[in-house]
Symmetry: C2
Subunit: 207 residues, 2 copies
């Protein structure tokens, strides 16, 4: 199933659609329309229609979507059944906080290990170990890691980023408050939490 | 000085402008143009011109901005000299990670305390104490707290949000992955970290 690029807002609603669709029995409800879904979830019909058409094309007129197919399309867009492996570098407070987020897997991403400098391997929780940076390259290549999450300080962020690229990682999510340089073809998402707060403060002072 | 509403991207560049302007001696450089600033910071001139005009109107033709006035305008937009007091509720890993961010103050927001359930007051670091929720309302009113940061779990987020509104807080930054209801006139910024990662994963699968 081909996955198209969809907006963050649509992505955010997909888990709700999926939950609803899974609760239905496909035998009882073989087809479902955007109108029905919108009503059940108290969402705007236009919005639901747009979301569904982004993930699954347009439904059949007057009938809607084949429920079973729609479930598969939504799952595919959420990357489920086809988890992307991620690692995190920098197991400080922020890194550990991210390791405890349980909703990343709902969106098809699984953090399979964390790394830190001079770290003897330790079991962090049931599924995640914190490993020394020495093991980084081999681990990433062996486990086909595609996403790297950077939660180290500004001073080492570019180094970690370079290491990730060398190890075959193609998408980087950076929390260090600095601009990183990546080669062409590498996706970089800069998370600037301070800016969210700054923006809120700016809106507040304009009220 | 009136503060206008500006974009997050512009806000993100303001600290760089401010740092540069402060390094100049106002006596040596009484006026400065967008062109000069763009060159010194390796930024696009059109962008700098737009940013500065958003914070300080247009400069004088051929002369630019009065350096001292520009510093004041940028500071005002960053909320400096006029810090907004914030508190955080939920001193788990994520909450503590946010308490360690040192760039919030660059954007005019100061987290002055954290709160947690059944918590005896403890000193978290030089400037921040973690206090019991019993003290919340009185503390917020006494200290004119305007921003509340929610880093509790989904189950208690709406309760904490209501408490914040009752205590006079007018802007809420919520990290719990749930939609909160706030009365009209209260600003709500929903931080959905999982969605950033989901979006990156979605882009990755379309490469």
């Amino acid at each position: 199933m081909e996955k198209s690029s969809i907006t963050k807002a649509t992505l955010g609603r997909l888990p709700h659609y999926l939950q609803l669709l899974r609760e239905l029995s496909v035998d009882d409800v073989p087809y479902i329309s955007a109108t029905v879904i919108a009503k059940k979830l108290s969402l705007g019909e236009v919005q639901v229609r747009k979301d569904l058409s982004a993930v699954s094309g347009s439904g059949r007129p007057k009938v809607g979507y084949k429920t079973a197919d729609l479930i598969k399309s939504v799952e595919a867009h959420l990357g489920q059944g086809d988890m992307t492996n991620a690692v995190l570098v920098g197991a400080g407070k922020l890194g550990k906080a991210l390791l405890e987020f349980d909703d990343f897997e709902d969106y098809g991403v699984k953090i399979i290990a964390a790394f830190d400098c001079n770290q003897n391997p330790i079991k962090y929780n049931r599924s995640i170990e914190i490993l020394p940076m020495n093991d980084f390259d081999e681990f990433c290549k062996k486990n086909n890691v595609r996403i790297g999450i950077i939660t180290v300080g500004t001073g080492s962020a570019q180094n970690v980023c370079d290491r990730m690229v060398e190890s075959g990682i193609t998408a980087i999510w950076n929390f260090a408050p600095c601009n990183l340089e990546v080669p062409d073809g590498i996706l970089l998402k800069q998370e600037r939490l301070a800016l969210s707060l700054a923006h809120l403060n700016n809106q507040l002072s304009n009220m």
